[in-house]
């Protein structure tokens, strides 16, 4: 998407039902002072414990901008008795460093794994903050190729958004521990079940992380809550993946975007309804002989009031879906 309009912060329209115990609410205030280079104001980096040992930083529901340092994706922290796993690192090195410092306040255990749920910049540009020091980067088996193929595009695009200095610090780090199907990671008295999804859904390298101890699912962008889902892989693939995803033995999900955890699998309902609506609408317009340009403004308009950032992403979703389904 290429847009001039920027929404640096949108308050959630509704509060999520409280899931798990919010036992800890850590605000690392002023941590980022001087790091978010244009915005000199201290930025709070909030972390919530949503289940025992599972922490979340909820990114803003917004488009990436200098002001929010691309802190728009959700980040997970899972603490075992031996080690820590990080799930996504945010959209800039500044976010990644704030995350790293926040982890240090939660636990003295070392970060052993950084798991990237897919290739998008808002999930991987913070990786550099964890490079070295024995951290193992983990991803879908398609992730290295995706990062290599698309990374340069992302760097160029985000240079305009975040500025030269912020981009100069980003390192595109390909994972070395690859997930073909499923992999279990042992953090000490806690295992994570990593699942690589096929076919292409949100992207062609979607990976989920299930904490088997607390039954908390970190879904990456296979699940959106409140924030409109964004199609960059395949609508058909995504709808095919959803029932399989729903079968995971989770109790709650931390979505890739959306400022709350959701009950599992009910949290999928809104997303599935939206995606099915897009599919039904594009099928109808294609059958009726409508042109792409006629269809796009009319697709999924019944969903307009149900999602944040609808106008920003729905036309693109409609375009992608139309081009995909006209070959059905």
């Amino acid at each position: 998407m290429f847009m001039i309009r920027l929404r640096t912060h949108l308050a959630p329209k509704r509060r999520g039902t409280a899931i798990g115990v919010v036992a800890v609410f850590i605000v690392v205030a002023a941590l980022l002072a001087g790091r978010f280079q244009v915005n000199a104001q201290p930025v709070a980096f909030a972390i919530q414990e949503i289940a025992n040992g599972d922490y979340v930083h909820f990114g803003q529901i917004a488009l990436s901008s200098v002001d929010n340092a691309a802190d728009i994706a959700n980040i997970g922290i899972v603490v075992g008795t031996d080690a820590v796993a990080i799930i996504d690192t945010g959209g800039s090195v500044a976010v990644g460093q704030a995350l790293r410092e926040a982890v240090g306040k939660i636990t003295g255990k070392p970060v052993r794994y950084v798991i990237n749920t897919h290739e998008h910049p808002d999930h991987i540009f913070g990786n550099a903050a964890f490079a070295g020091s024995g951290v193992i980067f983990v991803g879908h088996r398609n992730l290295p190729a995706s990062i290599e193929a698309h990374g340069p595009f992302y760097l160029r695009a985000f240079r305009d958004i975040l500025g030269d200095d912020a981009i100069a610090r980003v390192r595109l780090i390909a994972p070395t521990l690859l997930v073909d199907d499923t992999v279990k990671l042992d953090l000490g008295d806690r295992t994570l079940l990593l699942t690589a999804w096929y076919p292409s859904a949100h992207t062609d390298c979607d990976l989920t992380v299930l904490d088997e101890k607390t039954h908390t699912l970190f879904s990456g962008d296979l699940v959106f809550i409140d924030h409109i889902p964004v199609i960059d892989g395949s609508l058909k693939g995504w709808l095919d993946v959803l029932p399989k995803l729903a079968a995971l033995p989770a109790e709650r999900v931390v979505p890739g975007h959306g400022r709350r955890a959701g009950p599992w699998p009910q949290a999928l309902d809104d997303e599935q309804r939206y995606l099915r609506t897009v599919r039904a609408d594009v099928r109808g317009f294609i059958a009726a002989g409508k042109k792409l340009t006629e269809a796009v403004p009319r697709v999924a308009q019944s969903e307009r009031d149900r999602w944040m950032l609808f106008d920003e992403y729905n036309p693109r979703n409609a375009t992608a879906a139309f081009a995909e389904y006209e070959w059905e």
Binding site: F2, M3, L6, A149, S200, D232, E312
Partner: protein
């Protein structure tokens, strides 16, 4: 008219273009072209149409494209006749050029006399904020230009990511004649659409497995016949989107079938014959 060469960008330029933005979760704050930035069109026009005068074509035909493209790799562009009654000019050829693209000429459409073709739409890749020009050669031998500004970037090098494993083979053709929109509409006008399953590789996309640039391989020519009568010829370039789609308005005759022939730069030829009446 001079033959248009669909040159692939030289390797040195790929680095720059290859770094262009692919649009995803990435609002661009790219500034609008500064006043100092030179309009590439005058030089480009004289390359494409050497020693020719381009007149304003706005009373002959119109071009339309979204001002802000949702997907730079799939930017819909349409052209349609916009003449006053008794204007006897007929368009014989339209060159569609995307000024800022590495290979600006996206397509050349040759319209057969009597075909009744009065509109053509397709989808193109747009690599940067740019004007899209359409230049028509009319039966009076003159050239008429219209333009539309589009905000999009990165379309030529955007990786072909939105692929589904639906198993539809390259070269698959689909053809559709749309039913007359409503009773009372002009019986001498219908719309048809040709779809070609083809990656239309621009030469600027990277193979995700081999990590090498995929050589350009694109639709070179597409012809549509109504019965035995040629209607439309499209000579394509790398700026046409993946899985090219062409939709056009035409004058129906008594022919029972349409025939489509396609050739790509890899030397492959694909063809199909399709019924003239839409399936019930």
């Amino acid at each position: 008219m001079r033959t248009i060469e669909h040159a692939v960008a030289p390797a040195g330029r790929r680095t720059i273009l290859g770094a262009a933005a692919v649009g995803f979760l990435m609002p661009s704050r790219r500034a609008a072209a500064s006043p100092n930035e030179q309009d590439p069109w005058p030089a480009l026009a004289s390359q494409i149409f050497p020693d020719r005068v381009l007149e304003d074509g706005s009373d002959l035909f119109a071009i339309d494209a979204p001002y802000r493209a949702e997907d730079a790799a799939v930017v819909p562009v349409s052209m349609r006749i916009a003449q006053v009654p008794h204007d006897t000019r007929e368009i014989r050829k339209i060159v569609l050029a995307i000024d800022a693209n590495p290979s600006p000429v996206a397509a050349t459409f040759t319209i057969e006399p009597g075909s009744g073709i009065d509109s053509i739409s397709t989808r193109v890749r747009v690599d940067d904020y740019t004007n899209i020009h359409a230049v028509a050669e009319a039966n009076d031998g003159r050239l008429y230009a219209v333009a539309r500004y589009v905000k999009a970037a990165g379309g030529c090098s955007a990786p072909a990511l939105k692929q589904t494993a639906d198993g539809i083979p390259v070269g698959t053709l689909r053809f559709r004649v749309f039913p007359a929109a409503e009773p009372g509409t002009d019986p001498n006008r219908r719309e048809a659409q040709v779809m070609v399953r083809h990656p239309n590789y621009s030469g600027m996309q990277m193979d995700q497995i081999s990590r090498l640039y995929i050589p350009a391989d694109f639709l070179e020519v597409l012809r549509v016949w109504q019965g035995d009568r040629l209607l439309l010829t499209v000579e394509g370039g790398i700026s046409i989107s993946e899985n090219p789609v062409f939709r056009f308005g035409f004058k129906p005759d008594a022919a029972k079938t349409f025939r489509v022939e396609v050739g790509d730069t890899g030397g492959n030829r694909y063809s199909g014959v399709f019924p003239a009446e839409p399936a019930a």
